[in-house]
């Protein structure tokens, strides 16, 4: 912990603690890096955290909420309330450059830019997704849906490795 027990006094302190809480399904980036912690405040030892879900049905949200609570209590919070908000809707564009590099090093291709505007993107040609292992862009989409709601599965034609892509949304 970067914060000693009992010293949680500011929003920054809370974010520092939460930066140690990993996404249970992508355990190399924190819930702060993922962009789901939207705000925090501390009043007299009472910590209020605002989070937003990634996908509507993400089964990890409950666990994330429990982990957030446990980490803050361990860091000296007297009481923790976690508020869930839906607006603005979460986007992978909130994942910063450092976190993207951590994803890539872990073997998950980081998300591209999320599409905005246009309603329908049928039969689109997607920009090739670079293989996180060898860097080749000679890859093919295996399945739009992967091991978790947030990932797609690709295969690299160059190094023959399958890999996950963090979907842009």
């Amino acid at each position: 912990m970067s914060v000693l027990p009992g010293t949680l006094t500011s929003r920054d302190d809370v974010f520092a603690v939460l930066d140690t809480v990993k996404d249970p399904e992508v355990p190399v980036i924190s819930v702060v890096e993922l962009g789901i912690v939207r705000d925090a405040s501390v009043t007299d030892g009472h910590v209020h955290v605002v989070i937003t879900p990634t996908y509507s049905g993400c089964p990890a949200m409950r666990e994330i909420e429990d982990d957030v609570r446990a980490a803050l209590l361990a860091a000296g919070a007297r009481e923790v309330t976690v508020q869930l908000v839906f607006a603005p809707a979460w986007t992978t564009d909130w994942i910063g450059p450092d976190a993207r590099e951590k994803l890539r090093a872990y073997g998950i291709a980081p998300p591209g830019r999320a599409e905005s505007g246009g309603l329908i993107t049928l039969t689109r040609r997607r920009a090739p997704v670079a293989c996180p292992w060898c860097g080749s862009t000679d890859t093919r989409l295996q399945s739009e849906f992967g091991s978790t709601a947030c990932k797609a599965i690709h295969t690299c034609n160059a190094c023959r490795q399958p890999f996950d892509e963090f979907k842009a949304i």
């Binding site: 509507s56 049905g57 607006a87 739009e144």
Partner: protein
């Protein structure tokens, strides 16, 4: 955890249905004590939430039975998204209703006559082609509906719609690709999805019906332009169907009733499975 609405389901409706004429006036469900809509917005949210809950459950039936592993996972992902959206929408419906019912109470302790989903989503899943044609017809509707509601005057609903829209868009892309692949595929796949489309088309009219609930929520800022939405939906649907070499055969009469609680027999069977655990162990947590 006995609930008041637990007792006014099948027996009541079976007993009353023969003694009263079919009342087709909006909101009067034949055989159920005259439902008075005191909270149109809560009613409207039930319609939105029930569409997604029931379709999500139908899709979940494919889990472990998909034709290929990737599609098994894809369909389960769709189901997860839809049930997640339903949780948000029904949660808000319960709050607005103000009777202390949360999303779980609404999902698991209402009987078929109290569900407000369109008939389209409750039909049995059929083969994979039928599932994908139905999904495509619904996804196209969902995208235009959520896109409109994302800028509506009710902040909480707008937030949910904006979030769900992102998911509906990639659902539509995926189901569209399957409709094209199967329609413009082999003679056998073409025949099957054309038959599916023929069977499903009569259930699409209900998606664009409007009634006093729509008028009432519009006054509260939840404006949904049915004509504009239908035009957008038709543009998407006809574009994809043309690419899929599929043909829409006009039907004389569109099916209707789900928004007023008049469902096909299939919904009761679906609920008997979906609600069985929650009703056998009410209040259970794990």
């Amino acid at each position: 955890m006995a609930r008041a609405d637990h007792d006014d389901g099948h027996e009541d409706s079976a007993a009353n249905v023969t003694s009263e004429p079919l009342n087709v006036a909006p909101f009067n469900v034949a055989g159920v004590r005259a439902p008075v809509i005191t909270n149109p917005l809560a009613e409207y949210l039930l319609r939105l939430g029930d569409d997604r809950l029931v379709l999500g459950h139908r899709l979940s039936e494919w889990c472990g039975h998909g034709p290929i592993l990737e599609e098994d996972i894809a369909v389960a992902n769709f189901a997860l998204d839809l049930i997640g959206q339903a949780t948000m929408l029904l949660g808000l419906a319960g709050e607005l209703e103000g009777k202390g019912r949360d999303a779980d109470a609404l999902a698991f302790f209402r009987d078929a006559v109290h569900f407000r989903n369109a008939l389209l989503v409750e039909l049995p899943r059929g083969d994979f082609g039928f599932t994908m044609v139905r999904q495509f017809l619904f996804d196209a509707f969902s995208v235009v509906q959520l896109d409109a509601l994302a800028s509506c005057g009710h902040a909480e609903l707008a937030a949910i719609a904006a979030k769900a829209l992102k998911e509906a868009k990639y659902h539509l892309r995926h189901s569209s690709e399957w409709v094209v692949r199967l329609g413009d595929g082999t003679a056998e796949s073409h025949r099957r999805v054309q038959e599916s489309l023929d069977a499903l088309w009569r259930y699409t009219g209900e998606l664009f019906e409007r009634d006093a609930v729509d008028a009432a929520v519009a006054e509260q800022g939840v404006v949904f332009d049915h004509d504009a939405a239908k035009a957008r939906w038709e543009a998407i649907v006809h574009d994809v169907l043309a690419r899929a070499t599929l043909e829409v055969k006009p039907v004389k009469l569109m099916a209707s009733g789900g928004r007023r609680g008049r469902h096909t027999e299939h919904l009761g069977h679906l609920l008997s499975v979906m609600q069985s655990v929650a009703r056998a162990h009410p209040g259970a947590t794990w």
